[in-house]
């Protein structure tokens, strides 16, 4: 088990490294002109030179990548316009547009995104699984059809439409804002409520359907029949035997899904004005802030790889038949 995790962590790190190298080449080494892009339309030759130098664009590509990695591990110094700033490890580069190290920028954004996704995901998982399980139990009845029908309707409304409706009409909700959890948990929750509801509502539709299908399958299994033949209550049959088996595939989807949510909350953040990762990357994109984009890529890749690892480990806890190795 320990060996397995170790091996997975090593492979995870190598995946991230490959991602970094590939994106680095795309952004900086490829025959583009990153310095020119950063410098913008009103660029002076001195400033261009300055940027080229401070980004080490005048050095061979391999050297550039080595320097970048070195920055991540031990930190590095950036000199721009005669001023040298130290960028602590893990240094993901320096944003010329905003004049701050990328790491600081992302470190502020990540908790916001994390808060949005954790809250939203909790809502959609609980809500979706509950409705799905109930629908599976009463399969074929009106209640089931209502549950399936409404999940189809909600699922087919574009996500941003739901977000907009909540933002525009659900004015009774507390004002959307980000307050760090540790400074005031109540304001934290209140400020994120609208975003959570939006994320929870739209995604619960698909979880209703996953859970319902998975539950129907589990309830049709031979072991469910065995459980019934023991003389235990139907509730126990459904929630202990059925749900336990039905949840394994749902959790698998959930894990990967959460990872994608973390990287893709742009809409939610934009609509609800929350300074998260998505918004950061979007802004960087608009401003050609390549170092920030690079940082975003690294964080995104790391999140995906870590979540995959978490799901795999979770799987062995859920299903004793799965042995890591």
């Amino acid at each position: 088990m320990l060996f397995y995790i170790l091996r997975r962590v090593i492979s995870a790190i190598s995946v991230v490294i490959v991602t970094v190298v590939v994106s680095f080449m795309l952004f900086f080494v490829a025959p583009t002109d990153p310095a020119g892009v950063i410098c913008g339309p009103r660029c002076t030759p001195e400033r261009l030179n300055d940027i080229t130098k401070s980004l080490n664009l005048d050095q061979p590509p391999v050297e550039q990548i080595v320097l970048y990695f070195k920055g991540i591990v031990v930190g590095r110094d950036y000199t721009s316009g005669g001023v040298t700033r130290h960028c602590d490890a893990p240094c993901l580069g320096y944003s010329y547009v905003l004049g701050v190290p990328v790491t600081d920028l992302l470190a502020k954004a990540v908790p916001v995104t994390l808060s949005i996704v954790i809250g939203g995901a909790t809502i959609y998982l609980c809500f979706g699984v509950l409705i799905g399980t109930i629908a599976a139990r009463v399969r074929g009845t009106t209640l089931d059809r209502v549950a399936v029908g409404s999940s189809l309707v909600i699922g087919s409304i574009p996500y941003f439409v739901v977000a907009l409706i909540i933002a525009l009409y659900a004015t009774f909700l507390p004002k959307s804002q980000y307050v760090p959890f540790f400074s005031n948990p109540v304001s934290w929750a209140a400020g994120l409520l609208a975003a959570w509801l939006c994320l929870g509502l739209t995604n619960s539709a698909s979880y209703t359907r996953y859970s319902r299908a998975s539950m129907i399958e589990a309830l049709g299994q031979d072991f469910t029949r065995t459980a019934r033949s023991k003389g235990i209550s139907e509730r126990r049959v459904v929630y202990r035997h059925g749900l336990r088996a039905a949840m394994t595939p749902v959790i698998t989807i959930f894990g990967v899904d959460v990872a994608y949510q973390l990287v893709n909350t742009i809409f939610t953040e934009r609509i609800f004005q929350l300074p998260g990762l998505g918004l950061r990357i979007l802004n960087a994109f608009n401003q050609y802030d390549l170092p920030v984009l690079m940082g975003g890529v690294i964080v995104g890749a790391t999140v995906l790889v870590v979540m995959n690892l978490v799901v795999d480990i979770l799987y062995t806890v859920l299903d004793p038949r799965v042995r890591l190795g």
Partner: protein
Amino acid sequence: MTAATTTAKSGVRSMEGAPLLELDDVKMHFRTKGDGLLARGTKWVQAVDGVSLTVQSGETLGLVGESGCGKSTTARLITRLLEPTAGKIKYQGVDIAHMSERQLRPYRREIQLIFQDPYSSLNPRHTVGTIVGTALRTHGMVPKSGELKRVQELLEVVGLNPEHYNRYPHEFSGGQRQRIGIARALAARPKIIVADEPVSALDVSIQAQVMNLLENLRSELGIAFVFIAHDLGVVRHFCDRVAVMYLGRVVEEAPRDALYEKPQHPYTQALLSAVPDIAVVRGVPPKQRIRLVGDVPSPVDPPSGCRFRTRCWKAQDICATNDPVLEEKAPDQTVACHFAEPPVESIVAEVV
């Protein structure tokens, strides 16, 4: 090839005087992933471990054994759905064990396979006519114009209504689907059919119908069969010779009557005595039965020496150290056991 080989028009080579099919010390080891860093514990499942068999033209060889004995893997090796780890698979004297897919093509026509599950082996989106017709076309058996006629002929041969060529597999019952599978195998005019549990998914009354069909095909078309089944009654009914497999090896091979009446390997004896026999109610005294303990060991880590020794009541020290080889203990009856001997009493009930 030192002996004279001839090449038929189809591209199938053959050596004069060679048996139709010959397996020579064939091994099939599958790799399983081990655990630990760098997958150090990689293990090999010895699914088939040194099997030698011979099938003459028109002959029927039965392969019996319990789950994990390697009989289905053997079927997939003969039909070259698998490439063996070691050993030779000779068809008319020519080794096909490591032939490329292109070289194999003409041989694929002559060696056909019938599967256990007639439903999952038929494409549900194709009509019966297409399924059988594809087999005809693949092997270039008939010109396009004659295809439908030949399909209908084949359907009739296997006892299906030839008018039903445009129906889909789900419109047929289990027994009828197995007939479709047989028609598909016959389309190529094979010389040998490997039938892997062809009747075990069928109800008793339907099973008998399909058995009779196979029986008729064999006597009319002279096709050789390798017939794989776990049902000893079915094998006895259908086969000229029977090989008993245990954990990837053949432990006994003999002509049908010798095997069922005077089995010499303890495993064969136990296997036969374990079959519930309906003759008991017709006044036949209950037979002495040998009860094996436990289940078949894992083929990943088979016992040393004789693989059956862990469940064998005759086992001695020599069985753990010396692997018994197949030896001829009676005319045409080979047994791999240090203590092979016919049973004291008849294993199967006496004839009424």
